[in-house]
């Protein structure tokens, strides 16, 4: 199990034991973390699963690939820490991961 923490915009924290090889988006949806809509179910086609990766974890989660970068154009307030959570796969390396959620996925 890999521990990940989602921090909502209002600072509410959700720490979850995530299953390996699922996506961060699926972890949020399956555990009822509010603030991730995931309209497209993880197809990198909606940008409603936007998260901000904590600065200390940006290297570990890696950079968004071309398709994800393109899709991030449809998210709001995108920063260097922005990722689409359906494109982050849970691995052992991510044990302790912290991500912040935007105010809303609009």
């Amino acid at each position: 199990m890999v521990k990940v923490t989602f921090i909502e915009f209002d600072k509410t924290e959700h720490s979850i034991d995530a299953e390996k090889d699922t996506s961060l988006m699926e972890v949020a949806i399956q555990n009822g973390v509010p603030g991730i809509d995931a309209d497209c179910g993880g197809a990198c086609a909606c940008a409603t699963c936007h998260v901000y990766v904590d600065q200390n974890w940006v290297d570990k989660t890696g950079k968004a690939e071309q398709m994800e970068q393109d899709m991030l154009d449809f998210a709001f307030d995108v920063t260097d820490q922005s990722r689409l959570s359906c494109q982050i796969k849970i691995t052992d390396d991510l044990d302790g991961l912290i991500v912040n959620l935007p105010e809303k996925q609009f």
Binding site: F74, F76, F106
Partner: protein, 342 residues
């Protein structure tokens, strides 16, 4: 705005795969359909969210893309000549005598015997960026979709976004605008290559302005926008403008469906599993929008629901006629309807 009154036997709300296939099942029973969608094209989620991605679980079709499925469905229903009413959302639904009356934001009114709600995950609506007080300016200075572009003549316009809609409107509006500024978070655009090239040329020649960054504040008075602030890293730049057009794609919202007096369960419409009828007579709900014990949100389930729904719809439209069960393979009357030689 067109004020239009349309009489029909059957009105389908939602032109996703399930709405489209229901035209076929209803057509076999001699029911003519009008079909409405807020999108400017048929196909629902398949067309909007995953046109290029393969689907593997359509019976008898080992692999087909979202777009491929939609074009096959459109071909399949062609013999029944459904009337499409696109780019409008159904806002109101009420009973008038023994018929249903449906209104859209486009100003048209439909009077129909039967309604089939195939509204899927809800209507696709433009994403509204969460900028403070943006609601105050909506429909006065801020527009998420454009119906009447004359309003923007000789105005200072800011367009935000980097996809097809944003760039298409740049090309369309820059000649009539007083000034046009495109705001995008990065230098790359994601649109048809030819469109991207044309926009790049306009930027290089100074015909339009390009600002790197994201909008973070609006100012103005009495619903009239005067200025947008653009944030790029730590820097803020103010741009004077009267019109802001944000294009950040679409998201599915349940929308007006919730207000129509139908029994809902977690935002889905409750139906029976014999006829897929709602708590209101002659209003059916099929596809992703409905719920019943065991429901799966799959295209194939929606197709099944369409077939059974059509049987009951027939009894409302032709109360005196009995349906004889027939196969398309062998029935000469069905083949005639499909325009194939027997």
């Amino acid at each position: 705005m067109q004020a239009n009154r349309i009489e029909t036997d059957c009105l389908i709300i939602g032109a996703g795969p399930v709405g489209l296939f229901s035209v076929f099942e209803l057509g076999l029973l001699d029911i003519k359909c009008d079909i409405i969608d807020i999108l400017d094209k048929p196909g629902g989620q398949c067309a909007e969210l995953y046109p290029d991605k393969p689907i593997y679980d359509i019976p008898g079709v080992p692999e087909i893309t979202g777009e491929g499925l939609v074009s096959s469905l459109i071909k399949q229903i062609e013999p029944f000549n459904p009337v499409f009413h696109l780019s409008r959302i159904v806002t109101e639904l009420k009973k008038v005598d023994d018929r249903w009356e449906v209104k859209t934001d486009f100003g048209d009114t439909f009077s129909t015997k039967v309604i089939v709600i195939a509204a899927g995950g809800g209507s696709f609506q433009p994403k509204k960026p969460p900028i403070k007080d943006i609601e105050d300016y909506e429909d006065f200075s801020v527009f998420y979709s454009i119906r009447d572009k004359d309003k923007f003549k000789d105005k200072d316009i800011v367009i935000a976004g980097g996809g097809d809609s944003a760039l298409d409107w740049v090309l369309d509006l820059h000649t009539s605008a007083k000034s046009l500024t495109l705001v995008h978070r990065r230098k790359e655009f994601r649109a048809v290559p030819d469109t991207v090239n044309k926009v790049q040329e306009l930027i290089e020649s100074g015909t339009i302005n390009f600002e790197l960054g994201q909008i973070n504040q609006l100012s103005g008075e009495n619903n009239k926008l005067e200025c947008v602030s653009i944030k790029n890293g730590d820097q803020i730049k103010d741009i004077n403008c009267q019109i802001l057009l944000p294009f950040f794609g679409l998201t599915m919202k349940l929308g007006p469906v919730a207000d129509w007096g139908l029994n809902l369960n977690e935002n889905l419409i409750e139906v029976d599993t014999e006829k897929f009828e709602t708590n209101q007579n002659a209003i059916f709900a099929i596809g992703d929008i409905n719920t019943y014990p065991g429901k799966l949100k799959l295209i194939l389930c929606g197709f099944h629901e369409a077939a059974l729904m059509a049987q009951q719809a027939h009894s409302y439209i032709y109360p005196d006629k009995k349906i004889t069960f027939q196969y398309t393979t062998s029935s000469s009357s069905l083949k005639k309807k499909l325009g194939v030689k027997s």
